[in-house]
Symmetry: C2
């Protein structure tokens, strides 16, 4: 009898699983339910769409629904929201505009993803407050930019400090959150000559990176005329009908606090804005799983074993809704990123077709570009986190030349490297450089060391490629390893 | 009693050892004999000096003789050639223009380097035949370029095919050898609008890289109007006073075959040239060691143990004159490159001051840029070499996008990956991309895998950094690992 794989969610994890399963077992019936109209899209590309470097949302789609249906023979049902899972009956119930279907499964993959989390402050429901999680979010933001730049609905900006240096800047725009989305969107919006205010609750942006990386990035943002507000606890997104501060230039407000946003109010100040983008992280979509008795872990995401299977047999979870095992700590972690979604989805596709495949651990590696700077991080950098995992962390940071000193181009790569004092084991790293000077790709060496449980003494001896246009004889990664090795040896 | 470290040779290995030893034990007396006047210079930068991107030879020097003497308290004696070593008496004898000194040692480091090897053909002694191994070679080549471009001694070029496309090209110049020096100098000379003919004996350039890398590079060279002569066995560098072919426009020739070169003669053709650069590899300088009874290995370089010690106690060898252990095969290998020289010199400096330190193995990693292309290689790629080391090699090559498909910039990274069929162990890799698209830095991930003896299944699961400006969700390295894993699994 033909078996059926049912997938809930048609993005990276879901479509990777569906494609791989169908390829490995063409007899398998594969049904994918996707709530929206878009599948298999690169949400990571949305900032570049808003920036205008990408001209259509379609170009973010790697495989179209038609291709999945016609070329890959996958029963893809867009516009179908799965509203319940019955593990005892092995069925899911999905609803579309026109029908409710009950679909039985032999294997079920929950790939429901994550959604932007809204901070617990007043005014997040106002008009003019955006997030960037979905294709439609991207579309709305781009439309906002188009409107603002054409002046159709755009009020005269209340010019702030950055505008003193910008000829034609408009806005201002408030970005709440100094993570990936916040930094990428700062670049995208500045490209359109908006004055950008970035509000970050803590004392540094990119909190998952090293302090040195955060500082380098914040300095760069300021050089690009982004107004960076650190230690700035946003209390309210205020609008014309009340709230603290604001110049009252917003229009169309009602009396229920949902009128147009016109200012970002922090403990210290009120900054007039024309629009607010909230980028304060994401939260896994787990309601469907929880209602079906599927367990979530301490991180709040769906708990899985090494094969991405949940506590309920034949029910898998992968991608932004699920936990994964951390490479360094060996503990469950929630780091919702694209590569993990692809990899774990693919592994599930192999497992359900008879080749049990582990999803693989995650090192928490991430990269970001903003303006003319690039940064990467991997592993464990925070000393409290390292100690909680049983390590005695030691960290060193070096500024190293990105190319031979005599080579005409080049800049600085700042490498922060963390290792365990007793064993020397590499725990984590953060790198930052001018864009094009290789902080991100150089991090590959450290990921290799992390994945293999190598020590900093091992890493110091890696025979990395060298030529004058690419590094000094000792690559910046080796310089950092050499310095940290010395610190640990001398301790 | 104060001990003495004597170092023979004042470049990377020698000065790294001297500096590290003196730093770790300021009481140690450190004497360095250097035959020439230059120390601690970046020979890797010479092509960029000839190209004109670097304006002075001095800028290739990382630490000056004065700094070594005054700031590092090293007894550096330039212009002193060591003519013999007496291991029984523990002395070396050195000669300068004005004196002969006998210096006793407690520890001796031979860091005599390597020199360009001349192919066994007629005419290599002619005027106008250059190599590029030393600072004075670099000076002579730059002077040649200056003369030729000013037209002072430069005869009207015999225009060949490439000149059909170049407005002002001069030359032609023949480069014998398609390795690092040949390719870097092709770029440097083409920058000055010389017509460049590159002669390569075998069927591809960069023989230590994969065939795909070689092809990509050769195609690129041709696009840059370099005339690439493959399978072109150079028989003679002919001159005006005889030899095959040539238009006899060379001047100043005698009757002894040492007159000015005017053509490169191969089995198939004779190509008129104004100058020839020979870049056919290097050979270790071992005469001093051999005369003292110090053993060389099968590679012809000085044999050493893990601590860079030779068969004679307290006599070390490091850098371009010495063998090292190959990471993959575990056998002695001769890969004379800058990082190894620095690292092994430094290790010797630590060892002789009481901290026994292994030099570390070498993976044969190398990088090269030529024109607008970059390439890296590491480990074992040649199947015969792999089989000789007891492996059953399997190789796959993939063309992958260097950045997200929708990202506005980007190109192709071609990754060739080789692994052992039985164990899956990664054996080697070769990567090539447009310059700036990261072939070289991406190779760091594979070096990490090689160093740790990881399998391609491990590598496939490396959690490498991803963001749209830097790669596709699966970095090209992961794409290659995925494909090769599949091939091995399905076999």
């Amino acid at each position: 009898m033909t078996e059926t794989l049912v997938v809930v969610g048609g993005d990276a994890a879901g479509m990777s699983a569906a494609s791989k399963a169908k390829r490995d077992d063409p007899d398998l019936e594969v049904v994918v339910f996707e709530k929206g109209e878009w599948v298999s899209y690169g949400a990571c590309g949305l900032p570049y769409y808003v920036k205008g470097e990408i001209q259509s949302l379609e170009s973010l789609v790697s495989v179209t629904p038609e291709e999945f249906r016609e070329q890959r023979d996958i029963d893809l049902r867009t516009g179908h929201e799965v509203i319940s899972v019955d593990p005892d009956e092995r069925t899911v119930t999905a609803k579309s505009e026109s029908e409710t279907v009950v679909q039985s499964y032999d294997h079920l993959l929950l790939a429901t993803g994550a959604e932007p989390v809204m901070p617990d402050i007043e005014g997040t429901e106002r008009e003019g407050v955006y997030t960037l999680g979905s294709m439609s979010d991207g579309k709305e933001l781009r439309e906002y930019v188009a409107r603002a730049r054409d002046g159709e609905t755009f009020s005269q900006p209340d010019r702030g400090p950055a505008c003193q240096y910008l000829e034609d800047c408009t806005g201002p725009i408030g970005i709440v959150g100094g993570g990936y989305i916040g930094l990428e969107m700062a670049e995208a919006l500045a490209e359109h000559e908006f004055e950008v205010h970035l509000f970050q609750r803590g004392e540094r942006v990119l909190t998952q990176f090293s302090e040195q990386t955060s500082e380098t990035v914040a300095t760069h943002l300021r050089e690009q005329d982004v107004v960076v507000h650190l230690e700035s606890d946003v209390r309210e997104l205020a609008g014309g009908n009340g709230g603290g501060g604001g110049d009252g230039n917003g229009g169309g407000d009602g009396e229920d606090g949902t009128g147009e946003v016109d200012s970002v109010v922090t403990d210290d100040e009120s900054v007039s804005v024309d629009m607010v983008l909230v980028g304060t992280g994401v939260t896994p979509r787990t309601a469907l799983a929880e209602a079906a008795g599927i367990e979530c872990g301490e991180t709040g995401a769906i708990a899985t074993d090494a094969y991405c299977e949940t506590n309920v047999g034949d029910v898998y979870a992968a991608g932004d809704c699920a936990e994964a095992t951390h490479t360094v700590t060996g503990e469950p972690a929630y780091v919702p990123l694209a590569l993990t979604a692809n990899r774990h989805g693919r592994a599930v596709g192999q497992t359900v077709t008879g080749t049990p495949t582990e999803g693989g651990s995650i090192a928490g590696t991430a990269a970001v570009k903003t303006f003319d700077i690039e940064a990467a991080r991997t592993g464990i950098l925070d000393h409290d986190d390292a100690r909680a995992a049983g390590f005695d962390p030691v960290t060193e940071t070096v500024d190293a030349k990105s190319r031979a000193g005599y080579y005409p181009e080049g800049g600085t790569v700042t490498v922060t490297l963390c290792a365990d004092r007793d064993s020397g084991r590499v725990l984590g790293a953060s790198l930052v450089s001018e864009y094009g000077e290789g902080a991100v790709h150089r991090s590959h060496a450290i990921v290799g060391a992390l994945e293999e449980g190598a020590t900093v003494f091992d890493l110091e001896n890696y025979d990395l490629a060298y030529a004058p246009p690419f590094n000094t004889t000792w690559d910046p990664v080796l310089v950092a390893a050499k310095v940290l090795s010395g610190t640990i040896r001398d301790a």
